[in-house]
């Protein structure tokens, strides 16, 4: 049982603030993904939880115990590093056994746990090899097995798949999800890859400039971005944004057409996902710039009032450069943002 609570954690490096007052609770056995562009502070936050970095402010609690003053070895965590960090002078067997030997576990138990985790990660035939004789994917498996063999309360992963090639990454992703669900540990996973985040997470914490912008389920993060940044960061292609001019009570003019909007005192911003529009009469007038058929659907980049506006249509849709389309947004999928605070308006 290990719930993780992060209370008001901040980290400053000299004049630079890497993390501003982070508050986050991760439930027992939850798979939490910290997602953000490089330099957003996600790795720093993970390292603070691991104890490899000390917070400038705030508290870290793991399983009801305050741990921010404890060294990593006393926190009940195990960590998987981006560059694997498999010890090159030890065999795969001794790498996996390393943590258990530090806990002075009897040899039969060490042996049993090493064999079991090796089997789980499909590396039982590599146990006598050294790290130099392994491929990147195999090294990654050893690193995960070494963490799992500890049977930790919390497993922390820092971009564990980013050094693997695309195909292997896909395979490991699915396997990792299965193994971790089976092991019933709480997991925190850092990545900059939104597809990885969406496919693995129970909950995604989207980070931006040292703050958590939104922490919610993958679908919620995708459908209802809490801030403009989340909408523009998640989704490929990302959300479309257009200025919305207030024309009356809950009435807004977006690119010439009038839409019903939320209660607001002034002008706001209209947002819609590219796949949430249909071609029909009385919509947003758009000029087609680029047509990219992708098989299952067709991505069309258009121009609306001089702004780039993307729409994903069925691959049967016929459109060519220079065509004028009328795009009708689905009413229930329209989102509105406050242009000043950039947060969503309900």
């Amino acid at each position: 049982m290990a719930e993780i609570q992060i209370k008001g954690v901040a980290k400053r490096f000299g004049a630079f603030t890497a993390l501003h007052q982070i508050d986050l609770t991760i439930a027992d056995q939850e798979f939490m993904v910290l997602l953000g562009a490089s330099g957003c502070g996600k790795t720093t936050l993970l390292r603070i939880i691991a104890g490899l970095e000390t917070p400038s402010d705030g508290e870290v609690w793991i399983g009801g115990r305050r741990v921010d003053h404890l060294p990593p070895r006393e926190r009940g965590i195990a960590m998987v590093f981006q560059n694997y960090a498999v010890f090159p002078h030890l065999t795969v067997y001794e790498n996996i056994a390393f943590g258990l030997r530090m806990q002075k576990k009897p040899q039969p138990e060490v042996d049993q746990r090493v064999k079991r985790t090796a089997e789980l990660m499909h590396i039982e035939q590599l146990l006598q090899r050294y790290s130099g004789q392994l491929s990147g994917g195999q090294r990654q498996r050893v690193a995960v097995a070494r963490a799992l063999a500890m049977e930790p309360d919390v497993i922390l992963m820092d971009e564990p798949l980013s050094n693997l090639d695309a195909l292997l990454r896909l395979e490991m992703r699915a396997e990792l999800k299965g193994v971790l669900a089976h092991s019933r540990t709480t997991a925190i996973y850092v990545t900059h890859d939104q597809v990885e985040a969406m496919s693995l997470a129970d909950r995604i914490a989207v980070m931006h400039q040292g703050r958590i912008v939104q922490a919610a389920s993958p679908v919620e993060v995708y459908r209802n971005p809490a801030a403009r940044f989340v909408g523009s960061f998640i989704g490929n292609p990302p959300m479309n944004f257009l200025p919305a001019k207030k024309s009356g009570e809950e009435q807004f003019i977006v690119a010439g057409s009038t839409l019903k909007g939320p209660k607001a005192s002034g002008d706001i911003e209209f947002a819609i996902r590219p796949e949430d529009m249909d071609v029909g009469p009385g919509g947003i007038p758009a000029t087609v710039r680029v047509v990219e058929p992708l098989g299952a659907h067709t991505l069309i980049t258009t121009d609306v009032d001089g702004k780039i506006f993307r729409v994903v249509l069925d691959s049967n849709a016929e459109a060519k450069t220079g065509d004028r389309l009328s795009l009708v947004p689905r009413a229930d999928r329209i989102r509105w943002f406050d242009p000043q605070s950039t947060s969503a308006i309900q």
Binding site: M79, F98, Q103
Partner: protein, 284 residues
Amino acid sequence: MTAVTNDMPIAPAAVTDARKAGNWLLIACIVLLCVWVLLPIYLLLVNALSSPAQVTGFPKRITPSFDFGSLSFFLNFQGVGKALWNSVVVALLTMVLSIGIGAPAGYALSRFDFPGKQAFRFLVLMTRAFPLPLLALPLAVLFIRTGLDDTAFGLAIVHTTLSLPFAVLITFSLFSGIPVELEEAAWTLGCNRWQAFRKVVLPLALPGIAASAVFAFTISWNEVFAAAVLTIENRTLTAFLLQSINVSPLYLKFAGGAALVVPALIFIFAVRKYLFAMWGIANR
């Protein structure tokens, strides 16, 4: 088209000629350098391994006769045994001191950020900038006052100051070559800082540390100035030879020279890979 095909062989021929000349120049330089280094060593060995009569006689031999008369006479010479022993003791002490002090400094330089780090690195190198003769007199006075004069330990301290920069820089590059993630992984797997160092960093750095120790040994073994100034009764081999070689017969000089050069050569050869690494020359 024909013009082009006719021209084709001419241009490459000129290029080949230039390349050939360049190759010859390179080979000539290499041969010259090798002769420069190897010829004295060769002559030294030939004469050390020849009988006293052959060394002083004429014509000179080109191959050694493997007569150990000179060497055995040298080894049985009054004071040589003791000087050899002194040399070994001083060199071993130097080795222990420079690794004991140098390796932690190298580790700190590679792992920690501290104020004045750059200045510290510079100062480590600067210790080599002071000529030893300049320091010899004040050191001798200081050593006589503190009772360190004419002791193996006193001389080892001086030799340590000479070898320490190398020990620091070699171990610094060694530790920098070991990813910090390996240590962090060890911490998360239940190690404290010292255990992580002993179980992960040390096994990986050990060959390099040994090399750096051997290098310190060699520096001390070869050092003559401080040894000659700071010791009287307990002379090291170099100081002993400096003192007595002028009055010795020729074959004894050769034997003494060989006794100094050969161990140093073997040691340097054994650790060459790490010295290359320190100087930034790729060796693979």
